[in-house]
């Protein structure tokens, strides 16, 4: 069974490829239509951020089995410029964070667990988990 899979992000079309991978995985894990759309949107935002701000990077999808719980992990990583002020990026309702529900706070809302690691000049890794209910 393919437990890990990934898409390298170079162009905007790779954003679509990452979405497709995420939706397929979400479907086969057993997520419903609305959750599939949410997971895909989260991946879309992460991949688009790589494309827009880091240039290149990778979206990796892992299936999770934690006892009886099943879920999906999304790892977005890049070697881009990093985020100098994470507090600002994570704040709600500011244009810097995407505004009107978008951006990183939006991604965090679409999933159950969310972690951001970043260093200026080194890159950014974002890990998001969605559990099947």
């Amino acid at each position: 069974m393919n437990e890990r899979s990934s898409v390298e992000i170079y162009t905007e079309w790779d954003v679509v490829a990452a979405r497709q991978l995420g939706r397929d995985e979400a479907k086969s894990i057993g997520f419903g239509t609305v959750d599939q759309a949410r997971i895909t949107t989260a991946i879309s935002e992460l991949a688009r951020n790589i494309y827009l701000y880091a240039g290149t990077g990778k979206i990796e999808i892992r299936r999770l089995h934690d006892g009886v719980k099943k879920g999906m992990m999304i790892i977005s990583s890049d070697n881009g410029p990093g985020i100098p002020d994470v507090r600002k990026v994570m704040e709600d309702g500011f244009t810097t964070s995407g505004g009107l529900g978008a951006g990183m706070p939006g991604v965090q809302r679409l999933v159950d667990e969310f972690k951001i690691e970043t260093e200026v000049g080194v890159g950014t890794t974002i890990t998001a988990i969605k559990w099947l209910r």
Partner: protein
Amino acid sequence: MMDLQKQYQELLEKYLENLDEKNLYFAQQFSRKFIEQEIAPEDVVSLHKDAVMNIFPELRNEVATTHDFLIEMMIHYGLALREHQSLIKKREELHMEMEVAANVQEKLMNATRPNVDGLDIGYVSEAAKAMSGDYIYFAEHGRKNLSVAVADVIGKGIPAALCMSMIKFGMDSIDENESVPSEVLKIINRIVEKSVDNSMFISMYYGMYNVENQHFTYASAGHEPALFYCAKTKSFEQLDAKGLLLGVKREVEYEECQVHLHSGDFVAIMTDGVTEIRTEDGFLDSAIIEQLLFEVRDQSAQQMADYLFKQLAQLQNFRLHDDFTVAIMKKR
């Protein structure tokens, strides 16, 4: 979700039966509950899809698919809504914080209506936002003299409030028995110039009423002129005095003027939040203030101030664009 699904389908079925308004009313009440329970619009579309497909089993699969498309369209709407719910919580927190701050400010400012022989005093000071940048200050000197200061920090809200708390310390340090209005403004100007940011200016009107000779002496640091009503001639006059805003430069001279108050006369000191009322159709003619005050000239000073506020708030649809402060001193 199963329960909601059933309820939603029932409502939709009933509505389709005879298209009556009652079911739409229930549906909307239902949707309010959805929002409160943080059910996202994409969830509503999903409920809708299942209901439609159950009610019309003959429908082709493509129709189900159109709903999937709509779900996709709704995801960002759902995110905006959830962000809204979180902002509202933060806003209520902030609001409580502001209330505490406004209390601190009020305690700090400590405007209490003084008791001076022969003078009826009333005032209203309402903040446009949570915290006012308008300032009103009374001091009595043994029921013989009354000092009144009305100030406006250019700019609104919190930074203004911080500035005001500073000025208060300055005011308190002045021995007013010995100072005339122009001197008081000179001293306060020095304090402001020294300690307040360059970008922050303050207008202030300072007046003193002498019980013995019934003279009202005033000076102004770039503040709105006060209004003087003469009961005998039933006419208004502006009480203006030359002087620069506080904080612009270190040494400033302030003009000092005087007017004699007879029975029924009054002086109204205001900030620009009163005189520059904005409505949907533009700025109001300031003659309206004279007119409103004239209408209630025979009431108490406090009733006059309240009336002025109520009428002007009404004209702005109860949305203040600036802090609103008026102080009325009326000779009995």
